[in-house]
């Protein structure tokens, strides 16, 4: 008996007006699995991530997490979102709260953890992302790499079952990319289930179990990293990879 996947995406379509950003996507993510989502800009990678924690509502199809279909807006949805951590390209830290407060805010106000406990856990998480000394700094006082690491810690503080990363390193200066990827690799080693939209092919190859290639709103190829990078099957994947190599 195979265990049910943590995430099941079935025949999902998403239209913005007359434009279809997702045109029938199927995707399973097993517990503890790390999936890299790659593809050209505009292929629908962000939209898929956003549909999985219902920042966007899907037009048709179904998405279940841990066997539960995504609920309508309201308390149940808020509970479910709290199980799915999301890390954004633009960090989206709350600028009027310190690094520590950014992390402990949702545990205190959503999970109703007592403040001393939430602060203690926030300090542990800061240590885990290597930022113990930045607890009292505001986001504007942190580098991009540091902000993104705080954002990862903020998402982890809700004890999510699944982490979604939408191009977490695309807004970073090159010298800061590895500090964020290191934190993500560590998280992957600890067994977190992850869906990572990325252009960092090294990370996709070494830290992920599977690569899904999206094109024009569909997953057109998925395979183990080694197979995908070394022997891509579809012409579109070949084309995509050759363009990456020439950069």
């Amino acid at each position: 008996m195979t265990p049910t996947p943590l995430v099941e995406v079935r025949a999902v379509r998403k239209a913005f007006g007359s434009f279809e950003a997702l045109r029938g996507v199927d995707l399973d993510i097993g517990r503890g699995e790390k999936v890299a989502l790659v593809g050209a800009s505009g292929s629908g990678k962000s939209t898929l991530c956003r549909c999985i924690n219902r920042l966007e509502t899907i037009t048709s199809g179904s998405i279940t997490i841990d066997g539960q279909p995504l609920p309508e807006e309201g308390k149940a949805l808020a509970d479910l979102r709290a199980q799915v951590g999301m890390v954004f390209q633009a960090f989206n830290l709350f600028p009027h709260f310190t690094a520590l407060e950014n992390i402990s805010l949702a545990p205190i106000h959503v999970r109703k953890v007592a403040k001393p406990d939430a602060d203690a856990e926030a300090r542990e998480l800061l240590a885990r992302v290597g930022l113990s000394d930045k607890a009292d700094n505001y986001p504007a006082e942190l580098s991009g790499g540091e902000q993104q690491r705080v954002a990862i810690a903020r998402a982890l503080a809700m004890h999510p079952q699944l982490m979604l990363f939408d191009e977490p390193t695309s807004a970073l200066d090159p010298e800061m990319i590895s500090e964020v990827l290191d934190v993500m690799s560590e998280l992957a080693n600890e067994g977190m289930t992850m869906l990572v939209v990325t252009h960092e092919m090294g990370f996709a190859r070494h830290a992920c179990d599977r690569v899904c290639f999206m094109d024009a709103g569909q997953i057109v190829e998925q395979n183990s990293p080694a197979e995908f990078f070394d022997t891509p099957k579809t012409d579109r994947a070949k084309d995509f990879l050759s363009k990456l190599l020439h950069h």
Partner: protein
Amino acid sequence: MDQIWQMLGENSSFLLNGVLTTVGLTILGFGGALVIGTIVAVFRVSPITPLRVVGTAYVEFFRNVPLLTLLILIVFGLPDIGLLFPLFWCGVLGLVLAGSAFICETVRSGINTISVGQSEAARALGMSFGTQLRLIILPQAFRTMVQPLVNNFIGILIGSSLASAVGVSDITNVTQQLNIRYAEAVVLFLLSGAVYLVFALGAGGVGSWLERLVSRSRIGSAR
């Protein structure tokens, strides 16, 4: 010249009461309008359609009816339906209703300056709409609203002079009464004008001070 000083001396407590009434109308009117205006702004950005409709109707009505009309309706209309308020509070009510429609729009545009990324991050953490507003959106929005709120404050201050027309003894009303008695229009209206000017400049000063405080803090600009 002596007559003028004599007039001011004899009526000093009358004038002082007028000044205090203007100050009271303005501060209570602004405070009430800030609270109601923020609530209506929350209605207008809420995901619940009936609340948005109510919010929009409120703003369109109270922003587009002259304050004087509103004051007359309150003073002469409310007693007809059995609501009898002291004149001063009728003035405050009119200022709150009209002021809140303008402050609502200030708050709403303040909310709109906060990037959607902020509310998406809050939603992704499982925060409800109310929690998002209270913890994430409004505290950042108010930081961008200092100068527009000063403008709203001055609008309410100057609008408060219309309360004189329905019999509230504010500084405009008091100077009008003295003018009828002493026929010193220029002096008296320079005096009341000076009261508004000083008060408005004071509000502007407080606003600039708040704005410096905000920009000097370690919190970066809202992104």
